[in-house]
Amino acid sequence: MSRGPDKEYEQLRVSGLHAFYGESHILHGIDLVVHRGELITLLGRNGAGRSTTLKAIMNMVGRRTGSIMINGEETMACAPHHIARLGVGYCPEHRGIFSALNVQENLTLPPVVRSGGMSLEEIYTMFPNLYERRFSQGTKLSGGEQQMLAMARILRTGANMLLLDEITEGLAPVIVEKLGEVLIKLKEKGLTIVLVEQNFHFAAPLADRHYVMEHGQIVEEISADELDAKQSMLNDYLGV
């Protein structure tokens, strides 16, 4: 199998996506394309609608219109569990650790949707903290440990497209560094990654392209090599 970005294969194409929570209209026509093996980021200020974009892809918002193609398949009519079975792994903003389950159960919970996921050993080597606490109740972990668990959980399933929402949130710098390494490894394995990040310094060296969002719209697309050139514009958007 070919590894590395496959510019021909469109893993995800979102066009004209609108999303609503009840009566509030949050996304106003999002268009984006992600190819296999790419890592893209969604940047923007708080409330720009980045998390909502990921949720809309998973069909977890109140109402949405437009089109979302995954692996060339239209998914507007699909229930979330169908979308997951197309090989999408979603790591939500608020971690979603299950308190009824212990760490190991949390890890093994999501069904494997594709072959090629990581084994428990691999995961425990990557996150030794989790190994130590593997029989603790999920929500008794510290904030950071929960974040690791949430990330680790979807690596097991073999999903080949990951939607990651603020995974470095609340993590100690060492762990953040480690996560960066993990993402690079995953990219090498050919996974497609959509990353929502607040921590631009973390995201910048990893990503192939950046989308900048504001008020529920994509206002700029910046590729990795344009980054330096467009730095000041970016600063304006993000208020860094």
């Binding site: 708080n46 409330g47 510290s142 762990i175 607040q198 860094v240």
Partner: protein, 266 residues
């Protein structure tokens, strides 16, 4: 002697079913300082906070506030003594306006909190102080807005203002910048600076730039016990701290400090 320390813990221990989350921690926090508690994930920082405010009961050890033993006090009593915390997840009263949120805090000094026969308008005299506090965090124009409708960053600001309304002597902040982007972080840093005038702050924070900008003194926790303590320079130069916590993120700063002596306080 000990009255230069606002807060002191002696041999603080918390065990969860055989797992020691906090292990013999001796903290000494100086009056007027902004003191940071940092450390790897799971080091026990939040747990220490919970112990200080009695959301958890210590397994062993003592907590002294201005020399008084407060180990046996209840949460509410500790809050009234002036040890007030903010939460890691924003804690507001969602269906009250911003002004009412603050008024509830102010009200606890009024002594009319059980007066169920008094008219609600009797609280209007607190409005001035509420507005002052709101203004100090830049929320004056939202005084009449229901809190649910506020953006996340503003909720955090409101929460801080509410906390300040308690006139805390010691303010405990758990990751005040978590989930915030650049501009908001700056705003919080300013807020905390302002709030720290005339009082002591103890904060947990992962954002090193915030820590370096704000804090007078830093205690590093690892696996439940104190690894080291000092100012930012000395702590960030400590190879042990870099190994367990900071990684190479701070290399630049660290390089400049290679010669600095590692000074560890007790």
């Amino acid at each position: 002697m000990s009255d230069q320390f606002v807060l002191e813990t002696r041999g603080l221990v918390k065990e969860f079913k055989g797992f020691v989350a906090v292990d013999d921690v001796n903290l000494k926090i100086q009056d007027g300082h902004i003191h940071a508690l940092i450390g790897p994930n799971g080091a026990g920082k939040t747990t220490v906070f919970n112990l200080l405010t009695k959301f958890l009961t210590p397994t062993r050890g003592q907590i002294l506030f201005r020399g008084d033993d407060i180990t046996a006090m209840k949460s509410a009593a500790i809050a009234r003594k002036g040890v007030v915390r903010s939460f890691q997840i924003s804690a507001v009263f969602p269906h009250m306006t911003a002004l009412e949120n603050i008024r509830v805090a102010l009200q606890s000094f009024e002594g009319t909190s059980f007066s169920f026969w008094k008219s609600g308008t009797s609280l209007n005299k607190l409005n001035d102080r509420c507005m002052e506090l709101l203004d100090s965090v830049g929320l004056a124009e939202f005084a009449n807005t229901t809190t649910v409708e506020l953006a996340y960053g503003r909720k955090r600001a409101l929460e801080l203002a509410t906390t300040l309304a308690m006139e805390p002597k010691l303010l405990l902040l758990d990751e005040p910048t978590q989930g915030m982007g650049g501009e908001d972080v700056d705003r919080v840093v300013e807020l905390v600076k302002k709030a720290a005038e005339g009082r002591t702050v103890l904060m947990v924070e992962h954002n090193l730039s915030v820590v370096s900008r704000l804090c007078d003194r830093i205690t590093v926790l690892a696996q439940g016990s104190v690894l080291t303590e000092g100012d930012y320079q000395s702590v960030s130069a400590d190879p042990r701290v870099r190994e367990v916590y900071m990684g190479t993120a701070n290399d630049k700063a660290a390089k400049a400090q290679t010669t600095a002596t590692q000074e560890t306080v007790e």
